[in-house]
Protein backbone atom coordinates (compact mmCIF):
# COMPACT_ATOMS: atom_id res chain seq x y z
CA UNK A 1 0.00 0.00 0.00
CA UNK A 2 2.94 2.31 0.58
CA UNK A 3 3.96 1.90 -3.07
CA UNK A 4 0.82 3.88 -3.99
CA UNK A 5 1.98 6.76 -1.82
CA UNK A 6 5.49 6.72 -3.30
CA UNK A 7 4.01 6.54 -6.81
CA UNK A 8 1.74 9.49 -6.13
CA UNK A 9 4.64 11.54 -4.75
CA UNK A 10 6.73 10.81 -7.83
CA UNK A 11 3.81 11.40 -10.20
CA UNK A 12 3.20 14.84 -8.74
CA UNK A 13 6.88 15.66 -8.99
CA UNK A 14 7.36 14.44 -12.53
CA UNK A 15 4.26 16.23 -13.81
CA UNK A 16 5.71 19.55 -12.76
CA UNK A 17 7.89 21.17 -15.40
CA UNK A 18 10.45 22.52 -12.96
CA UNK A 19 12.09 19.19 -12.16
CA UNK A 20 12.77 18.52 -15.80
CA UNK A 21 14.16 22.01 -16.24
CA UNK A 22 16.33 21.56 -13.14
CA UNK A 23 17.59 18.20 -14.42
CA UNK A 24 18.48 19.81 -17.74
CA UNK A 25 20.33 22.68 -16.06
CA UNK A 26 22.10 20.18 -13.78
CA UNK A 27 23.35 18.09 -16.71
CA UNK A 28 24.48 21.11 -18.76
CA UNK A 29 26.28 22.62 -15.78
CA UNK A 30 28.15 19.41 -14.98
CA UNK A 31 28.97 18.78 -18.63
CA UNK A 32 30.42 22.29 -18.84
CA UNK A 33 32.43 21.91 -15.63
CA UNK A 34 33.90 18.53 -16.61
CA UNK A 35 34.75 19.85 -20.08
CA UNK A 36 36.53 22.83 -18.51
CA UNK A 37 38.48 20.59 -16.15
CA UNK A 38 39.47 18.38 -19.06
CA UNK A 39 40.68 21.34 -21.10
CA UNK A 40 42.61 22.71 -18.14
CA UNK A 41 44.16 19.37 -17.19
CA UNK A 42 45.12 18.60 -20.79
CA UNK A 43 46.87 21.94 -21.18
CA UNK A 44 48.70 21.48 -17.88
CA UNK A 45 49.81 18.02 -18.99
CA UNK A 46 51.12 19.35 -22.32
CA UNK A 47 52.92 22.12 -20.50
CA UNK A 48 54.72 19.77 -18.10
CA UNK A 49 55.74 17.57 -20.99
CA UNK A 50 55.22 14.45 -18.91
CA UNK A 51 52.74 11.71 -19.54
CA UNK A 52 49.79 12.56 -17.33
CA UNK A 53 46.39 10.93 -17.31
CA UNK A 54 43.59 13.49 -17.13
CA UNK A 55 40.95 10.84 -16.32
CA UNK A 56 41.35 10.92 -12.50
CA UNK A 57 41.33 14.72 -12.53
CA UNK A 58 38.10 14.75 -14.51
CA UNK A 59 36.46 12.03 -12.47
CA UNK A 60 37.51 13.48 -9.11
CA UNK A 61 36.26 16.91 -10.12
CA UNK A 62 33.00 15.42 -11.38
CA UNK A 63 32.45 13.64 -8.05
CA UNK A 64 33.07 16.86 -6.10
CA UNK A 65 30.86 18.91 -8.41
CA UNK A 66 28.03 16.36 -8.13
CA UNK A 67 28.29 16.39 -4.34
CA UNK A 68 28.47 20.18 -4.24
CA UNK A 69 25.42 20.63 -6.47
CA UNK A 70 23.60 17.91 -4.51
CA UNK A 71 24.01 20.08 -1.43
CA UNK A 72 21.91 22.67 -3.27
CA UNK A 73 19.37 20.44 -5.02
CA UNK A 74 18.71 17.50 -2.69
CA UNK A 75 17.65 19.33 0.51
CA UNK A 76 14.96 21.11 -1.51
CA UNK A 77 13.37 17.72 -2.27
CA UNK A 78 12.23 17.33 1.34
CA UNK A 79 12.80 20.68 3.08
CA UNK A 80 9.06 21.46 3.00
CA UNK A 81 7.75 17.91 2.68
CA UNK A 82 5.94 17.67 6.01
CA UNK A 83 5.06 21.26 6.93
CA UNK A 84 4.16 22.03 3.33
CA UNK A 85 1.57 19.27 3.36
CA UNK A 86 0.34 20.51 6.70
CA UNK A 87 -0.04 24.01 5.26
CA UNK A 88 -1.89 22.77 2.19
CA UNK A 89 -4.17 20.67 4.36
CA UNK A 90 -3.22 17.35 2.81
CA UNK A 91 -1.29 15.79 5.69
CA UNK A 92 -4.09 15.28 8.21
CA UNK A 93 -6.35 13.44 5.76
CA UNK A 94 -3.43 11.16 4.97
CA UNK A 95 -2.84 10.58 8.68
CA UNK A 96 -6.53 9.72 9.12
CA UNK A 97 -6.00 6.59 6.99
CA UNK A 98 -4.29 3.32 7.85
CA UNK A 99 -0.92 4.78 6.87
CA UNK A 100 1.32 4.69 9.91
CA UNK A 101 3.83 7.50 10.56
CA UNK A 102 6.58 5.18 9.35
CA UNK A 103 4.74 4.68 6.05
CA UNK A 104 4.51 8.43 5.48
CA UNK A 105 8.19 8.83 6.39
CA UNK A 106 9.29 5.92 4.21
CA UNK A 107 7.22 7.14 1.24
CA UNK A 108 8.58 10.69 1.48
CA UNK A 109 12.12 9.38 1.92
CA UNK A 110 11.88 6.90 -0.95
CA UNK A 111 10.31 9.35 -3.39
CA UNK A 112 12.99 11.94 -2.62
CA UNK A 113 15.73 9.32 -2.84
CA UNK A 114 14.53 8.10 -6.25
CA UNK A 115 14.52 11.70 -7.49
CA UNK A 116 18.00 12.37 -6.07
CA UNK A 117 19.26 9.11 -7.56
CA UNK A 118 18.00 10.18 -10.99
CA UNK A 119 20.10 13.34 -10.68
CA UNK A 120 23.21 11.54 -9.45
CA UNK A 121 23.00 8.60 -11.83
CA UNK A 122 22.29 10.90 -14.78
CA UNK A 123 25.96 11.91 -14.51
CA UNK A 124 27.18 8.38 -15.30
CA UNK A 125 27.83 9.27 -18.97
CA UNK A 126 30.18 12.01 -17.72
CA UNK A 127 31.91 9.45 -15.48
CA UNK A 128 32.32 7.12 -18.46
CA UNK A 129 33.80 9.99 -20.46
CA UNK A 130 36.29 10.62 -17.63
CA UNK A 131 37.13 6.94 -17.36
CA UNK A 132 37.72 6.72 -21.10
CA UNK A 133 40.67 9.06 -20.56
CA UNK A 134 42.21 6.30 -18.43
CA UNK A 135 43.23 5.99 -14.80
CA UNK A 136 39.82 5.48 -13.22
CA UNK A 137 39.18 1.99 -11.91
CA UNK A 138 35.70 0.51 -11.87
CA UNK A 139 35.92 -0.04 -8.09
CA UNK A 140 36.73 3.62 -7.57
CA UNK A 141 33.81 4.71 -9.72
CA UNK A 142 31.36 2.40 -7.95
CA UNK A 143 32.54 3.49 -4.49
CA UNK A 144 32.21 7.16 -5.42
CA UNK A 145 28.64 6.69 -6.69
CA UNK A 146 27.63 4.66 -3.64
CA UNK A 147 28.97 7.41 -1.35
CA UNK A 148 27.20 10.09 -3.42
CA UNK A 149 23.89 8.27 -3.01
CA UNK A 150 24.51 7.81 0.72
CA UNK A 151 25.15 11.53 1.10
CA UNK A 152 21.90 12.25 -0.78
CA UNK A 153 20.12 10.11 1.83
CA UNK A 154 21.75 12.25 4.52
CA UNK A 155 20.57 15.52 2.90
CA UNK A 156 17.07 14.07 2.44
CA UNK A 157 16.88 13.09 6.12
CA UNK A 158 18.03 16.56 7.19
CA UNK A 159 15.36 18.12 4.95
CA UNK A 160 12.65 15.86 6.37
CA UNK A 161 13.64 16.64 9.94
CA UNK A 162 13.66 20.38 9.21
CA UNK A 163 10.24 20.19 7.56
CA UNK A 164 8.71 18.44 10.53
CA UNK A 165 10.40 20.41 13.30
CA UNK A 166 10.04 23.90 11.81
CA UNK A 167 6.45 24.99 11.27
CA UNK A 168 6.90 27.47 8.43
CA UNK A 169 8.07 26.13 5.06
CA UNK A 170 10.33 29.09 4.33
CA UNK A 171 12.15 28.72 7.62
CA UNK A 172 12.40 24.94 7.38
CA UNK A 173 14.09 25.25 3.97
CA UNK A 174 16.54 27.66 5.57
CA UNK A 175 17.09 25.21 8.46
CA UNK A 176 17.69 22.32 6.05
CA UNK A 177 20.31 24.28 4.11
CA UNK A 178 21.88 25.44 7.36
CA UNK A 179 22.17 21.80 8.47
CA UNK A 180 23.78 20.74 5.19
CA UNK A 181 26.07 23.76 5.28
CA UNK A 182 27.13 22.94 8.84
CA UNK A 183 28.12 19.42 7.82
CA UNK A 184 29.92 20.31 4.62
CA UNK A 185 31.56 23.68 5.31
CA UNK A 186 30.87 24.37 8.97
CA UNK A 187 32.68 21.33 10.33
CA UNK A 188 36.00 22.03 8.56
CA UNK A 189 35.75 25.63 9.80
CA UNK A 190 35.06 24.37 13.32
CA UNK A 191 38.02 22.04 12.98
CA UNK A 192 40.21 24.96 12.04
CA UNK A 193 38.92 27.05 14.93
CA UNK A 194 39.32 24.19 17.39
CA UNK A 195 42.95 23.89 16.41
CA UNK A 196 43.50 27.35 17.91
CA UNK A 197 42.91 25.80 21.29
CA UNK A 198 45.15 22.81 20.63
CA UNK A 199 48.15 22.58 22.96
CA UNK A 200 51.48 22.70 21.19
CA UNK A 201 53.62 19.64 21.71
CA UNK A 202 57.29 19.07 21.10
CA UNK A 203 58.07 16.60 18.37
CA UNK A 204 61.53 15.15 18.01
CA UNK A 205 62.66 13.64 14.77
CA UNK A 206 65.99 12.18 13.72
CA UNK A 207 66.90 12.49 10.10
CA UNK A 208 70.17 10.67 9.55
CA UNK A 209 72.44 11.90 12.34
CA UNK A 210 70.57 15.10 12.78
CA UNK A 211 67.97 15.40 15.51
CA UNK A 212 65.39 18.12 15.07
CA UNK A 213 62.84 19.21 17.59
CA UNK A 214 59.84 21.38 16.88
CA UNK A 215 56.39 21.96 18.29
CA UNK A 216 53.13 21.03 16.67
CA UNK A 217 49.59 21.51 17.94
CA UNK A 218 48.17 18.24 19.16
CA UNK A 219 45.08 17.38 17.11
CA UNK A 220 43.77 14.72 19.46
CA UNK A 221 40.03 14.11 19.07
CA UNK A 222 39.56 17.01 16.68
CA UNK A 223 39.74 14.85 13.59
CA UNK A 224 36.23 13.69 14.57
CA UNK A 225 35.03 17.11 13.39
CA UNK A 226 36.28 16.36 9.89
CA UNK A 227 35.08 12.76 9.69
CA UNK A 228 31.33 13.32 9.09
CA UNK A 229 31.94 15.90 6.35
CA UNK A 230 30.41 14.50 3.13
CA UNK A 231 33.34 15.75 1.04
CA UNK A 232 35.82 14.05 3.38
CA UNK A 233 33.88 10.78 3.31
CA UNK A 234 33.65 10.90 -0.49
CA UNK A 235 37.37 11.52 -0.96
CA UNK A 236 38.49 9.25 1.84
CA UNK A 237 36.37 6.27 0.86
CA UNK A 238 37.51 6.31 -2.77
CA UNK A 239 40.28 3.69 -3.14
CA UNK A 240 43.79 5.07 -3.45
CA UNK A 241 44.99 5.90 -6.92
CA UNK A 242 47.89 3.68 -8.00
CA UNK A 243 49.35 5.88 -10.71
CA UNK A 244 51.68 8.63 -9.51
CA UNK A 245 51.27 10.71 -12.62
CA UNK A 246 47.95 12.18 -11.78
CA UNK A 247 46.53 15.16 -10.08
CA UNK A 248 43.40 14.01 -8.36
CA UNK A 249 41.34 16.46 -6.29
CA UNK A 250 39.87 13.58 -4.27
CA UNK A 251 43.38 12.42 -3.31
CA UNK A 252 44.27 15.92 -2.12
CA UNK A 253 41.30 15.97 0.27
CA UNK A 254 42.01 12.41 1.32
CA UNK A 255 45.65 13.11 2.20
CA UNK A 256 44.71 16.24 4.08
CA UNK A 257 41.98 14.55 6.05
CA UNK A 258 44.02 11.49 6.94
CA UNK A 259 46.93 13.65 8.04
CA UNK A 260 44.65 14.94 10.78
CA UNK A 261 44.35 11.45 12.14
CA UNK A 262 47.96 10.40 11.71
CA UNK A 263 49.36 12.80 14.23
CA UNK A 264 46.82 11.90 16.80
CA UNK A 265 47.56 8.23 16.35
CA UNK A 266 51.36 8.20 16.26
CA UNK A 267 52.63 8.60 19.80
CA UNK A 268 56.00 7.26 18.63
CA UNK A 269 56.55 10.58 16.96
CA UNK A 270 55.40 12.51 19.93
CA UNK A 271 57.24 11.42 23.04
CA UNK A 272 59.88 9.13 21.77
CA UNK A 273 62.26 9.63 18.93
CA UNK A 274 61.17 8.50 15.55
CA UNK A 275 63.13 8.30 12.42
CA UNK A 276 62.24 9.39 8.95
CA UNK A 277 63.25 6.01 7.57
CA UNK A 278 60.59 4.34 9.64
CA UNK A 279 57.89 6.12 7.74
CA UNK A 280 54.56 5.51 9.42
CA UNK A 281 52.06 3.29 7.64
CA UNK A 282 49.22 5.07 5.86
CA UNK A 283 47.00 6.61 8.52
CA UNK A 284 43.73 4.86 9.16
CA UNK A 285 40.75 6.13 7.19
CA UNK A 286 38.26 8.58 8.66
CA UNK A 287 35.29 7.57 6.55
CA UNK A 288 34.05 4.56 8.56
CA UNK A 289 33.73 6.79 11.64
CA UNK A 290 32.31 9.66 9.59
CA UNK A 291 29.78 7.45 7.86
CA UNK A 292 28.73 5.98 11.21
CA UNK A 293 28.17 9.49 12.58
CA UNK A 294 26.14 10.42 9.48
CA UNK A 295 24.05 7.27 9.74
CA UNK A 296 23.41 8.33 13.32
CA UNK A 297 22.31 11.76 12.06
CA UNK A 298 19.94 10.10 9.57
CA UNK A 299 18.50 7.90 12.34
CA UNK A 300 18.02 10.89 14.64
CA UNK A 301 16.31 12.88 11.86
CA UNK A 302 13.95 9.98 11.08
CA UNK A 303 13.15 9.58 14.79
CA UNK A 304 12.19 13.25 15.02
CA UNK A 305 9.97 12.97 11.92
CA UNK A 306 8.20 9.93 13.38
CA UNK A 307 7.70 11.73 16.67
CA UNK A 308 6.06 14.68 14.90
CA UNK A 309 3.86 12.41 12.76
CA UNK A 310 2.56 10.44 15.74
CA UNK A 311 -1.22 10.03 15.93
CA UNK A 312 -3.09 11.00 17.94
CA UNK A 313 -0.99 14.15 18.28
CA UNK A 314 -0.20 15.14 21.84
CA UNK A 315 2.03 18.19 21.86
CA UNK A 316 1.63 20.83 19.20
CA UNK A 317 3.98 23.74 18.77
CA UNK A 318 2.37 27.16 19.31
CA UNK A 319 0.29 27.97 16.27
CA UNK A 320 0.62 24.46 14.87
CA UNK A 321 -2.55 22.78 13.67
CA UNK A 322 -3.37 19.14 13.11
CA UNK A 323 -5.52 20.02 10.12
Amino acid sequence: MIDALIASELKQRMRGKRWWILLGVWMLLLLGLVALVRAGATRAAEFSGEFVQVGPTMFGSLALFVLGLSCLVVPSLTATAINGERDRGTLAVLQATLYRPKDVLLAKFSAAFVTAAVFVLATIPLAIWSASEGGVSAVRAVVVYVVLLAMCALFIAIGLAASSLVRRPGLSALAAYAGVFLLTAGLPILFGLSMLSATPEPVTQRIGDEVITYTEPRIGWRWLLLAPDPFVILADAAPRQRSRFVSDPLAVIREGARASRQQSRSPVFRDGVGSAEEAPPEPPPLWPVGLAIDVGVIALCCYEVLRKLHVPARHLAPGERVA
Binding site: K11, G89, T90, A96, L98, V311, P312, A323
Partner: protein, 306 residues
Amino acid sequence: MTAAVAIEAIGLTRSFGRSPALTGYDVEIPARKITALVGPNGAGKTTLLLILAGLLAPDGGSVRVMDIDPVTDPFEVHRLVGWMPDFFGVYEGLTAQEYLELFAAAFRMPTADRPTRASELLELVDLLEFRDRPVHVLSRGQKQRLGFARALVHRPRLLLLDEPASGLDPRARVGLRDLIRAQAAEGVSIVVSSHILAELEEVAELVAFVDAGTSRGVHEIDNLPRHGTARWRFRALDADALQRSIVTAGAAPAIDPDGSVLVEVADATAAADLLAHLVREGVRVTEATPERSGLEGAFMAMGQEP
Protein backbone atom coordinates in the same frame (compact mmCIF):
# COMPACT_ATOMS: atom_id res chain seq x y z
CA MET B 1 -23.52 -5.82 15.05
CA THR B 2 -22.77 -2.15 15.50
CA ALA B 3 -22.84 -0.40 18.81
CA ALA B 4 -25.96 1.51 19.74
CA VAL B 5 -23.80 4.40 20.83
CA ALA B 6 -21.54 5.91 18.19
CA ILE B 7 -19.69 8.34 20.39
CA GLU B 8 -19.24 8.51 24.11
CA ALA B 9 -17.13 11.15 25.79
CA ILE B 10 -16.67 11.80 29.49
CA GLY B 11 -14.92 14.88 30.81
CA LEU B 12 -12.87 15.54 27.67
CA THR B 13 -10.37 18.34 28.04
CA ARG B 14 -7.90 19.75 25.58
CA SER B 15 -6.10 23.04 25.45
CA PHE B 16 -3.67 24.55 22.98
CA GLY B 17 -1.00 26.41 24.86
CA ARG B 18 -2.89 28.54 27.33
CA SER B 19 -6.19 28.63 25.45
CA PRO B 20 -8.63 25.87 26.39
CA ALA B 21 -10.64 24.33 23.53
CA LEU B 22 -12.53 21.65 25.47
CA THR B 23 -13.21 22.06 29.18
CA GLY B 24 -14.84 18.86 30.39
CA TYR B 25 -16.95 17.76 27.47
CA ASP B 26 -19.49 14.98 28.08
CA VAL B 27 -21.67 13.55 25.35
CA GLU B 28 -23.39 10.42 24.18
CA ILE B 29 -24.33 10.33 20.52
CA PRO B 30 -26.42 7.38 19.30
CA ALA B 31 -25.48 5.37 16.23
CA ARG B 32 -27.31 5.44 12.89
CA LYS B 33 -28.52 9.00 13.28
CA ILE B 34 -27.58 12.32 11.74
CA THR B 35 -26.41 14.50 14.57
CA ALA B 36 -25.76 18.19 14.12
CA LEU B 37 -22.85 19.48 16.18
CA VAL B 38 -23.73 23.09 16.66
CA GLY B 39 -21.96 25.93 18.38
CA PRO B 40 -20.39 29.28 17.69
CA ASN B 41 -16.89 29.60 16.24
CA GLY B 42 -14.28 28.66 18.82
CA ALA B 43 -16.70 26.50 20.80
CA GLY B 44 -14.47 23.45 20.36
CA LYS B 45 -16.22 21.66 17.49
CA THR B 46 -13.12 21.12 15.36
CA THR B 47 -11.04 20.03 18.36
CA LEU B 48 -13.72 17.52 19.33
CA LEU B 49 -13.91 16.10 15.81
CA LEU B 50 -10.10 15.79 15.65
CA ILE B 51 -10.14 13.78 18.86
CA LEU B 52 -12.99 11.61 17.58
CA ALA B 53 -11.10 11.04 14.31
CA GLY B 54 -8.12 9.68 16.25
CA LEU B 55 -5.81 12.49 15.19
CA LEU B 56 -5.54 14.52 18.38
CA ALA B 57 -5.01 13.25 21.91
CA PRO B 58 -7.16 14.81 24.62
CA ASP B 59 -5.40 16.17 27.72
CA GLY B 60 -7.87 14.42 29.97
CA GLY B 61 -11.12 12.52 30.07
CA SER B 62 -12.12 9.40 28.21
CA VAL B 63 -13.64 8.87 24.81
CA ARG B 64 -14.93 5.93 22.80
CA VAL B 65 -15.73 6.03 19.11
CA MET B 66 -17.72 3.05 17.81
CA ASP B 67 -16.66 1.38 21.05
CA ILE B 68 -12.95 1.92 20.37
CA ASP B 69 -10.57 4.21 22.22
CA PRO B 70 -9.08 6.56 19.61
CA VAL B 71 -6.15 7.39 21.89
CA THR B 72 -4.85 3.84 22.30
CA ASP B 73 -6.20 2.42 19.04
CA PRO B 74 -6.21 5.28 16.51
CA PHE B 75 -5.84 3.14 13.40
CA GLU B 76 -8.79 0.94 14.32
CA VAL B 77 -10.80 4.17 14.60
CA HIS B 78 -9.47 5.32 11.20
CA ARG B 79 -10.74 2.08 9.72
CA LEU B 80 -14.31 2.78 10.92
CA VAL B 81 -14.46 6.54 10.65
CA GLY B 82 -14.59 8.82 7.63
CA TRP B 83 -13.37 12.30 8.54
CA MET B 84 -13.77 15.42 6.45
CA PRO B 85 -11.97 18.44 7.91
CA ASP B 86 -13.20 22.01 7.63
CA PHE B 87 -10.12 22.89 5.64
CA PHE B 88 -8.28 20.48 3.41
CA GLY B 89 -6.22 20.48 0.26
CA VAL B 90 -5.89 18.05 -2.60
CA TYR B 91 -2.76 16.87 -4.38
CA GLU B 92 -2.43 19.30 -7.24
CA GLY B 93 -0.66 17.01 -9.65
CA LEU B 94 -3.15 14.14 -9.45
CA THR B 95 -6.39 13.51 -11.31
CA ALA B 96 -9.61 13.03 -9.35
CA GLN B 97 -9.49 9.31 -10.08
CA GLU B 98 -5.85 9.00 -8.94
CA TYR B 99 -6.60 10.99 -5.80
CA LEU B 100 -9.33 8.59 -4.71
CA GLU B 101 -7.29 5.54 -5.73
CA LEU B 102 -4.46 6.77 -3.49
CA PHE B 103 -6.81 6.84 -0.50
CA ALA B 104 -8.25 3.46 -1.45
CA ALA B 105 -4.67 2.19 -1.24
CA ALA B 106 -4.23 3.98 2.08
CA PHE B 107 -7.03 1.82 3.46
CA ARG B 108 -5.39 -1.34 2.15
CA MET B 109 -7.90 -1.95 -0.60
CA PRO B 110 -6.60 -4.53 -3.11
CA THR B 111 -5.02 -2.90 -6.18
CA ALA B 112 -7.56 -4.40 -8.56
CA ASP B 113 -10.54 -2.94 -6.65
CA ARG B 114 -9.23 0.61 -6.38
CA PRO B 115 -10.21 1.96 -9.84
CA THR B 116 -13.76 0.61 -9.50
CA ARG B 117 -14.19 2.11 -6.05
CA ALA B 118 -12.82 5.46 -7.20
CA SER B 119 -15.17 5.61 -10.21
CA GLU B 120 -18.09 4.54 -8.05
CA LEU B 121 -17.44 7.41 -5.65
CA LEU B 122 -16.91 9.94 -8.44
CA GLU B 123 -20.28 8.92 -9.81
CA LEU B 124 -21.86 9.21 -6.37
CA VAL B 125 -20.68 12.80 -5.93
CA ASP B 126 -21.35 13.64 -9.57
CA LEU B 127 -17.73 14.26 -10.56
CA LEU B 128 -17.36 11.49 -13.13
CA GLU B 129 -16.68 14.03 -15.87
CA PHE B 130 -13.60 15.21 -13.91
CA ARG B 131 -12.22 11.71 -13.55
CA ASP B 132 -9.14 12.30 -15.69
CA ARG B 133 -8.78 16.00 -15.05
CA PRO B 134 -6.24 17.32 -12.53
CA VAL B 135 -7.92 18.12 -9.22
CA HIS B 136 -6.78 21.73 -9.24
CA VAL B 137 -9.30 22.58 -11.97
CA LEU B 138 -12.15 21.76 -9.56
CA SER B 139 -14.24 24.56 -8.07
CA ARG B 140 -14.61 24.89 -4.32
CA GLY B 141 -17.91 23.03 -4.31
CA GLN B 142 -16.47 20.27 -6.48
CA LYS B 143 -13.40 19.95 -4.26
CA GLN B 144 -15.72 19.70 -1.28
CA ARG B 145 -17.58 16.85 -2.98
CA LEU B 146 -14.29 15.15 -3.81
CA GLY B 147 -13.34 15.47 -0.14
CA PHE B 148 -16.65 13.90 0.80
CA ALA B 149 -16.00 11.03 -1.61
CA ARG B 150 -12.54 10.64 -0.07
CA ALA B 151 -14.06 10.33 3.41
CA LEU B 152 -16.28 7.52 2.10
CA VAL B 153 -13.58 5.57 0.30
CA HIS B 154 -13.31 2.81 2.93
CA ARG B 155 -17.06 2.58 3.60
CA PRO B 156 -16.88 4.02 7.12
CA ARG B 157 -19.54 3.30 9.74
CA LEU B 158 -19.28 6.80 11.16
CA LEU B 159 -18.86 10.03 9.23
CA LEU B 160 -17.39 13.10 10.92
CA LEU B 161 -18.02 16.16 8.76
CA ASP B 162 -16.50 19.42 9.94
CA GLU B 163 -18.35 22.41 8.47
CA PRO B 164 -18.84 20.69 5.12
CA ALA B 165 -21.16 23.41 3.81
CA SER B 166 -18.97 26.41 4.59
CA GLY B 167 -18.25 28.47 1.51
CA LEU B 168 -20.70 26.56 -0.67
CA ASP B 169 -23.39 28.21 -2.74
CA PRO B 170 -27.02 27.24 -1.98
CA ARG B 171 -27.22 24.72 -4.81
CA ALA B 172 -24.05 22.95 -3.71
CA ARG B 173 -25.44 22.83 -0.17
CA VAL B 174 -28.57 21.07 -1.34
CA GLY B 175 -26.39 18.56 -3.17
CA LEU B 176 -24.33 17.97 -0.04
CA ARG B 177 -27.45 17.57 2.08
CA ASP B 178 -28.71 14.88 -0.30
CA LEU B 179 -25.37 13.07 -0.12
CA ILE B 180 -25.48 13.10 3.69
CA ARG B 181 -29.05 11.77 3.68
CA ALA B 182 -28.13 9.00 1.27
CA GLN B 183 -25.33 7.86 3.60
CA ALA B 184 -27.63 7.95 6.60
CA ALA B 185 -30.12 5.83 4.69
CA GLU B 186 -27.41 3.17 4.44
CA GLY B 187 -27.07 3.06 8.19
CA VAL B 188 -23.99 5.25 8.55
CA SER B 189 -23.84 7.31 11.72
CA ILE B 190 -23.16 10.94 10.88
CA VAL B 191 -21.95 13.84 12.94
CA VAL B 192 -21.92 17.10 11.03
CA SER B 193 -20.79 20.37 12.52
CA SER B 194 -21.79 23.86 11.61
CA HIS B 195 -22.22 27.30 13.00
CA ILE B 196 -24.72 28.01 10.23
CA LEU B 197 -27.67 26.41 11.92
CA ALA B 198 -30.43 26.68 9.38
CA GLU B 199 -28.73 24.31 6.95
CA LEU B 200 -28.63 21.47 9.50
CA GLU B 201 -32.14 21.98 10.78
CA GLU B 202 -33.69 20.03 7.95
CA VAL B 203 -31.13 17.25 7.63
CA ALA B 204 -30.31 16.40 11.23
CA GLU B 205 -32.37 14.27 13.59
CA LEU B 206 -30.41 15.22 16.68
CA VAL B 207 -28.57 18.31 17.67
CA ALA B 208 -25.61 18.37 20.05
CA PHE B 209 -24.91 21.88 21.24
CA VAL B 210 -21.41 22.86 22.22
CA ASP B 211 -20.34 26.14 23.68
CA ALA B 212 -17.11 27.27 25.32
CA GLY B 213 -15.70 23.76 25.31
CA THR B 214 -18.59 22.06 27.09
CA SER B 215 -21.68 20.22 25.93
CA ARG B 216 -25.04 21.97 26.12
CA GLY B 217 -26.92 18.72 25.69
CA VAL B 218 -28.16 16.49 22.88
CA HIS B 219 -31.75 17.02 21.78
CA GLU B 220 -34.08 15.57 19.20
CA ILE B 221 -34.63 18.34 16.73
CA ASP B 222 -38.38 17.81 16.65
CA ASN B 223 -38.64 18.07 20.43
CA LEU B 224 -36.46 21.12 20.81
CA PRO B 225 -37.81 23.65 23.23
CA ARG B 226 -39.10 26.19 20.71
CA HIS B 227 -38.84 29.23 22.86
CA GLY B 228 -36.52 30.59 20.27
CA THR B 229 -37.98 32.58 17.42
CA ALA B 230 -36.70 32.98 13.89
CA ARG B 231 -35.43 36.31 12.68
CA TRP B 232 -35.95 37.41 9.08
CA ARG B 233 -34.53 40.28 7.15
CA PHE B 234 -36.75 42.15 4.71
CA ARG B 235 -35.81 44.80 2.21
CA ALA B 236 -38.03 46.77 -0.16
CA LEU B 237 -37.77 49.60 -2.67
CA ASP B 238 -39.71 51.85 -0.28
CA ALA B 239 -38.40 51.32 3.25
CA ASP B 240 -41.16 53.37 4.90
CA ALA B 241 -43.93 51.45 3.17
CA LEU B 242 -42.25 48.22 4.26
CA GLN B 243 -42.18 49.26 7.92
CA ARG B 244 -45.78 50.48 7.88
CA SER B 245 -46.97 47.28 6.30
CA ILE B 246 -45.08 45.12 8.82
CA VAL B 247 -46.73 47.03 11.67
CA THR B 248 -50.17 46.51 10.16
CA ALA B 249 -49.40 42.78 10.01
CA GLY B 250 -48.98 42.90 13.79
CA ALA B 251 -45.23 42.36 13.87
CA ALA B 252 -42.54 44.59 15.38
CA PRO B 253 -39.96 45.77 12.84
CA ALA B 254 -36.45 46.60 13.96
CA ILE B 255 -34.75 48.93 11.53
CA ASP B 256 -31.22 48.05 10.48
CA PRO B 257 -28.88 51.01 9.74
CA ASP B 258 -28.53 49.75 6.16
CA GLY B 259 -32.23 50.37 5.47
CA SER B 260 -33.45 46.78 5.78
CA VAL B 261 -35.85 45.61 8.47
CA LEU B 262 -35.46 42.73 10.93
CA VAL B 263 -38.55 40.93 12.16
CA GLU B 264 -38.93 38.27 14.85
CA VAL B 265 -41.35 35.59 13.70
CA ALA B 266 -42.39 32.25 15.15
CA ASP B 267 -41.16 30.08 12.29
CA ALA B 268 -40.78 29.83 8.52
CA THR B 269 -44.56 29.61 8.02
CA ALA B 270 -45.07 32.89 9.86
CA ALA B 271 -42.33 34.46 7.74
CA ALA B 272 -44.01 33.27 4.55
CA ASP B 273 -47.36 34.63 5.77
CA LEU B 274 -45.75 37.98 6.49
CA LEU B 275 -44.19 38.07 3.01
CA ALA B 276 -47.59 37.28 1.43
CA HIS B 277 -49.12 40.10 3.45
CA LEU B 278 -46.45 42.54 2.28
CA VAL B 279 -47.01 41.64 -1.35
CA ARG B 280 -50.79 41.97 -0.98
CA GLU B 281 -50.25 45.42 0.49
CA GLY B 282 -48.33 46.38 -2.62
CA VAL B 283 -44.91 46.63 -0.94
CA ARG B 284 -42.28 45.93 -3.57
CA VAL B 285 -40.10 43.49 -1.62
CA THR B 286 -36.57 42.92 -2.94
CA GLU B 287 -35.23 40.67 -0.21
CA ALA B 288 -36.57 38.23 2.39
CA THR B 289 -33.92 36.07 4.05
CA PRO B 290 -33.73 34.06 7.27
CA GLU B 291 -31.16 35.63 9.60
CA ARG B 292 -31.52 33.17 12.42
CA SER B 293 -33.57 30.03 12.52
CA GLY B 294 -35.71 28.64 15.33
CA LEU B 295 -32.94 26.12 16.03
CA GLU B 296 -30.44 28.86 16.55
CA GLY B 297 -32.98 30.73 18.62
CA ALA B 298 -33.32 27.73 20.87
CA PHE B 299 -29.58 27.50 21.13
CA MET B 300 -29.18 31.17 21.93
CA ALA B 301 -31.78 30.82 24.64
CA MET B 302 -29.93 27.81 25.98
CA GLY B 303 -26.63 29.64 26.05
CA GLN B 304 -28.19 32.22 28.32
CA GLU B 305 -28.94 29.70 31.03
CA PRO B 306 -25.67 28.00 31.85
